[in-house]
């Protein structure tokens, strides 16, 4: 594989291009800036990144186009622009050398590393890194996995990188298992194992709670039993103490009571004496009272009040009696007058009384009279109507006459008319005249006849109805006149010799008398009732007077008083004595507290006996209770009481807890917890076992990696030695390896190799690593040697010579020449190292854009 051309196209600058041939090529450029650009571009083209490495490229806007040939002399074109642009390959199409742009997938067989999988065709590119005092010149490699370190290490390689190309599968498998371990939890502090442990702890705590709950429940039950027993004991002991204390208390109480009773006894004795004195006075007054006739019953205030009332009532009744009596007499006189008057009326009535003046009779008379008057009225009305109808008779006669006349006239006219027809024989002058006249006459007569007939007929027709009515009225008048006559006869028979008016006047007189009689009878009756009432009242008053007197007598009789006034005097005397007696009695009652004197005596006797008993009891108690112990017992009792209270509270609390725990225990299904716990334990064992097995597997893989690393180290060092031997033609230089941590270090057998040897050894190891890892075959070597890469300050200016020595080293040149036979080797240097332009170079500066 070789590089033919490099074209650098800066975004803001002039394009420049480099062309290379086979073998050792040297590029010299005075413009270090341009060289810098070139190097940056080269980085883009030739650098392949180490796994996951991201290199920052400063001038990513510039393009570089490189023409490369692969090992089979196939032309490859490569263009890249920064990291963001995919690799483009231009493949040669043969004779016309036109290029085809291919995508990176086609280029993979050429560009992709089989193991690390990175895309990017690489040459071995390195530049000097630093040149410090007493240090070998170090080289910086654009492959990240290789670097130079202190202590004579020619090159150190990342072991992981080596393994990824030689046993990467093992590493990945190990990682997978490590992930599994991480997931399961390596130390019970995380992962699935921790979850299980937590769950197990939860279940165990639940079980423990259940178990502890049961144990606690049993303990509680025992404790409750003990508490109850202790409470019973305390109560019994307290009762005993209480009995003793009660005796002491009772003694004290009795002593106090004894004192009180003694004082009471003295008091009672005094009371007894006072009572006896009062009793004597009372007896005297009672004797006086008893000397009054009738005793206390006769001098009750009610009796006095009643006597007074009766006396007053008697006075009132006497007055009433007098009034009633007077009224009664007046009523009797009036009654007698009225009865006389009534007798007169009755006589008068009896004189004039006949059947004619009975009410029925009067009704008949009035009825006949009413009919008579009615008939008279009707007749008069008919007569007036008949007067009106009398003219109709003449009218109808006239109408009949007119009718007849009219008919006659019409007949005459007809006769006249027939004569002319049949010829009058004699048409005399008269005749003629008559004839002439008859014609007019006939007409006149006919017309008159017709009119008269018509008039008469119409008059007849018009009046004939009224004539019928007139006739009917005449008939009715006749009937009414008949009835009127009958009524007159009947009235005459009823009134006999009297006229109707006389009769009625007589009748009215009779009616007045009757009414007067009735009124008088009513007044008499009323008066009689009043007299009767007055009689009753008189009797009642008399009875009341009698009864009042009797009552008065009855209530005054016990006292022996004959009058109310006398009674009042005696009464007042009695009451005065009674008040005095009562006052004395009240005083006694107060002294004796409402009890009889005998009671007081009995009480005194009783108290004396009780006092003696109490004294005896106190004497006995003095023997039973020792006063000094009572205080101790009291203290003990108080302590016991406090303990009892505390125990009762505790018992209550425990019983409450017991109920709660019993309730909780009933709710828990221990089987479910135990079942889950057993399953969790099995799972934990399985996980632990699996973890253990995974760790064994990981150890196996680790051992494999270790073996592989050792094997690779030997292989690389052997290969590096072969390359060195080829380049230098000597066999004394040996490169060995050692594994330090995660890196494999390649060292030289020389204690301090010359810088040129150091460079060549680095190159050899680099090539060997490249061969063992990515196996790129004859990759070109680019060695860029501008001084700008050296961290050389002004003070270390002399060290520049050392770098120049390397650049000018013949040994290096020879070695590179030999190496250039197998692959393309390109040196890029700058003006700073002028002397490095070697006349022995096969090619000098070929192209500078």
């Amino acid at each position: 594989m070789k590089i033919e051309k490099l074209s650098v196209c800066p975004e803001d600058g002039e394009q420049f291009e480099f062309s290379f041939g086979q073998g050792l090529c040297t590029i010299y450029d005075q413009d270090s800036e341009r060289l810098k650009k070139l190097i940056d571009s080269l980085k883009q083209v030739f650098h392949y990144s180490y796994t996951d490495h991201k290199e920052e490229i400063n001038n990513d806007m510039q393009q570089i186009y490189a023409v490369l040939y692969d090992d089979d002399d196939n032309k490859l074109g490569l263009k890249r622009r920064g990291d963001s642009v995919e690799v483009e390959l231009l493949l040669s199409s043969g004779a016309n050398e036109e290029s085809l742009v291919c995508d990176s997938n086609i280029a993979q067989p050429f560009l992709k590393c089989n193991y690390c999988g990175q895309i990017g065709y690489s040459s071995l590119l390195f530049v000097p890194e630093s040149l410090e005092n007493d240090c070998t010149l170090k080289w910086s490699f654009f492959d990240e996995y290789v670097k130079q370190e202190d202590g004579g290490v020619v090159l150190s390689v990342d072991s992981d990188f080596l393994i990824s190309h030689n046993g990467g599968v093992i590493k990945d498998a190990k990682k997978l298992l490590e992930k599994d371990i991480e997931r399961l939890g390596p130390d019970e502090q995380k992962g699935y194992l921790k979850e299980l442990k937590d769950f197990k702890n939860t279940l165990e705590s639940q079980m423990k709670m259940y178990s502890v709950g049961n144990t606690y429940k049993d303990d509680l039950e025992d404790k409750c039993i003990w508490l109850k027993e202790r409470i019973t004991f305390l109560q019994s002991r307290m009762n005993s103490i209480k009995q003793v204390l009660n005796i002491g208390n009772e003694k004290e109480k009795l002593t106090e009571e004894l004192k009180v009773m003694k004082s009471l006894l003295q008091k009672d004795m005094r009371r007894k004496k006072d009572a006896e004195t009062l009793n004597i006075t009372l007896c005297e007054h009672k004797e006086k009272l008893s000397s009054f006739q009738g005793g206390e019953q006769a001098y009750m205030p009610q009796i006095l009040s009643e006597a007074k009332n009766l006396s007053n009532a008697l006075n009132g009744l006497d007055r009433q009696l007098e009034d009633r009596d007077r009224t009664h007499k007046m009523a009797i006189n009036e009654l007698a007058n009225m009865r006389n008057e009534l007798v007169l009326i009755n006589n008068e009535l009896q004189n004039t009384e006949c059947t004619m003046y009975s009410d029925d009779y009067v009704m008949n008379v009035e009825a006949v009279m009413a009919n008579l008057r009615k008939h008279q009225d009707q007749i008069s009305k008919l007569e007036s109507s008949l007067v009106k109808h009398k003219s109709l008779i003449s009218k109808i006669r006239i109408s009949r006459i007119f009718t007849v006349l009219g008919l006659i006239l019409m007949a005459c006219s007809a006769v006249f008319g027939a004569n002319e027809e049949f010829g009058f024989l004699n048409r005399s002058g008269f005749g003629q005249i008559f004839f002439i006249q008859s014609h007019w006459m006939m007409l006149f007569m006919s017309l008159s006849g017709v009119l008269m007939t018509l008039f008469g007929f119409l008059g007849i027709r018009k009046i004939s109805g009224k004539v019928n009515k007139f006739n009917n009225m005449m008939k009715e008048k006749t009937v009414l006149l008949g009835q009127l006559a009958w009524d007159k006869n009947k009235l005459t028979s009823l009134l006999k010799d009297k006229t109707y008016e006389e009769y009625m006047e007589q009748y009215n007189n009779m009616a007045i008398l009757r009414e007067t009689k009735l009124n008088m009878e009513f007044s008499i009756d009323k008066l009689e009732r009043e007299i009767s009432k007055l009689d009753n009242e008189l009797n009642l008053i008399k009875v009341r007077i009698k009864r009042s007197k009797e009552r008065l007598y009855h209530i005054l009789r016990p006292s022996g008083s004959v009058s109310v006034e006398r009674y009042i005097q005696v009464y007042e005397e009695y009451r005065r004595q009674a008040v005095i007696t009562n006052e004395i009695s009240n005083k006694m009652k107060i002294i004796l507290e409402g009890k009889p004197l005998s009671y007081l005596n009995g009480q005194i006797d009783d108290m004396i006996s009780r006092l003696s008993m109490m004294e005896a009891k106190i004497e006995r108690m003095d023997k039973d209770v020792i006063n000094e112990n009572l205080e101790d017992l009291k203290e003990e009792y108080e302590l016991k009481q406090m303990e009892l209270m505390s125990l009762k509270n505790e018992l209550e609390e425990r019983e409450r807890d017991l109920n709660v725990i019993s309730y909780d225990a009933e709710k828990i299904d221990v089987w479910e917890i135990a079942s889950d716990l057993a399953e969790t334990n099995i799972e934990i064992d399985n996980v632990k076992k699996t973890s253990e097995a995974i760790k064994i597997a990981i150890t196996g893989f680790s051992n494999m990696i270790k073996d592989a690393t050792i094997c690779l180290g030997g292989e690389i060092s052997s290969l590096a030695n072969d390359i060195l031997k080829f380049m230098l033609g000597e066999d004394d230089t040996r490169i060995s390896y050692r594994i330090v941590g995660n890196r494999m270090e390649f060292t030289s057998n020389s204690i301090k190799p010359a810088e040129e040897d150091f460079f060549l050894k680095s190159l050899a190891v680099y090539l060997a690593v490249n061969e063992v890892t990515c196996a790129r075959g004859t990759s070109p070597i680019l060695c860029i040697l501008p001084e700008i890469f050296l961290k050389i300050g002004a003070i270390e200016r002399s060290n520049l010579k050392r770098f120049k020595t390397v650049c000018e080293s013949i040994k290096i040149k020879d070695a590179l020449k030999k190496l250039a036979k197998t692959r393309q080797v390109i040196w890029i240097i700058n003006e700073g190292i002028l002397n490095l332009i070697d006349e022995d170079s096969e090619q000098k500066l070929i192209a500078i854009a």
Binding site: V169, L176, V670, S675, E692, A697, G700, F701, M704, D707
Partner: protein, 402 residues
């Protein structure tokens, strides 16, 4: 002669944690256990037996709930009300910190719980002596039966939680030999501990494991039974009474030469939503089948009441290539597949010869035991799975890029 009838059972383990089953079906299984207990109680009443013998394993003391204890009490009450004696010895599952729970359960009349670590006798059943001992706590390594020699006209019955000679159990409790059985002169020895029915009789000395009447783990096989022991005089006749239980199977499959499709097809034939099925994969392990168990479970878990696949495949080492250098020199580097194979071989060599003590602080296995070997096998499997994943990933990447 009146016939004496005894119902013998053991290892009911009510409220067992049931971790052999998926969480989703455990509640149902728990209910099934309780139903089996009720069945036994009903059966005892129906058969009018004289006594119900429970040779250990009434409850799982560590996980028993109050509701279950109430149900047991109710069951026992029903038995004692009918005059049926309930006699039991503690089993491993009954032991927690103490056996107070069981003592409380057996506190009524007609009940006997042998909680002494010496043989005691229960004589409340006419014509019968029942001997029992607590063989679990301090005496689990002692041969308890050796201490018992009986001889009377009565029917002599022993009840013991222990391991009869050559019984296939993982944890041996109070070992019992045939000689001890003969020497004890018992007419019937009711054993508990082993989960399946076994006749351990020697000559005229009748001795049975009743087995567990329920499936509470995959250690139980086939139908579940309780034993009805009838005595005519001193002659015991044992008959099995089937206890209704859910179907449960354990199927072994050799992976060699079989594809995933073939295996899944085989399992699909057993599809039953009421079945508890465990498939144990045997044969030589291959990284290709690393996810087989999981894939099968994912595919078929809904087809069964409970379905699980256990990977019991073996692992074979190839010891010819033990270091990277030799492998690298001898193989063609350009062949990725071949190279992967080489790396696998090298890895296996490394794991095989990895001393577990090299593994820093997280190692909890200090001695090179069967567990170490098991760990190495697991490590090898996991490492090869990881290598395969890396290769597959790499190949995928190459394919996608090309």
């Amino acid at each position: 002669l009146s016939v004496i009838k005894i119902l013998h059972t053991s290892n009911i383990c009510l409220d067992h944690v049931l971790t052999d089953y998926h969480k989703g079906v455990r509640k149902d299984k728990r209910i099934e256990l309780l139903e089996s207990f009720d069945f036994i109680v009903n059966k005892a009443i129906q058969l009018e037996v004289n006594a119900l013998l429970i040779a250990g394993g009434i409850i799982s003391a560590g996980s028993v709930s109050l509701s279950t204890l109430d149900r047991i009490k109710a069951g026992f009450s029903r038995l004692t009300e009918k005059g049926i004696h309930v006699i039991a010895v503690p089993g491993c599952s009954d032991e927690k910190s103490d056996i107070s729970i069981l003592k409380e359960l057996f506190s009524n009349k007609f009940m006997c719980f042998f909680s002494d670590e010496k043989w005691s006798v229960y004589q409340d059943i006419e014509g019968v002596n029942i001997y029992g001992i607590r063989s679990t706590f301090n005496r689990k390594n002692d041969n308890c039966l050796k201490d018992l020699v009986v001889g009377s006209d009565k029917v002599e019955i022993g009840i013991l939680y222990g391991t009869f000679y050559q019984t296939p159990v993982t944890t041996k409790i109070s070992p019992i030999t045939s000689q001890d059985l003969i020497k004890s002169n018992l007419d019937y020895l009711a054993l508990g501990h082993y989960e399946n029915v076994v006749n351990c009789s020697v000559g005229k000395n009748i001795c049975w494991y009743s087995g567990s009447p329920v499936h509470y783990s995959f250690n139980t096989f086939g139908e579940r039974h309780v034993l009805l022991v009838s005595f005519k005089g001193k002659d015991a006749k044992v008959s099995r009474i089937k206890v209704p239980s859910r179907l449960q199977r354990v199927v072994h499959m050799d992976l060699n030469g079989k594809s995933f499709a073939q295996i899944s097809q085989y399992v699909k034939r057993m599809t039953n939503t009421q079945l508890c099925l465990r498939v144990e994969l045997d044969g030589v392990w291959n990284p290709v089948n690393a996810q087989l168990a999981k894939d099968l479970e994912d595919m078929l878990c809904d087809e069964f009441f409970h379905f699980e696949v256990c990977d019991n495949t073996l692992f074979e080492y190839t010891e010819n290539i033990l270091n990277f250098y030799e492998g690298r020199k001898s193989k063609d580097r350009d062949s990725g597949k071949k190279r992967g194979h080489d790396l696998s071989q090298i890895f296996l060599g490394k794991v095989q010869y990895t001393d577990n003590e090299q593994i820093d602080n997280y190692s909890y296995c200090t001695n090179k035991t069967g567990t170490d070997n098991e760990l190495n096998i697991m490590a090898s499997k996991l490492g090869l799975i990881a290598l395969r994943e890396v290769y597959e990933h790499e190949n995928r990447k190459v394919v996608s890029m090309s």
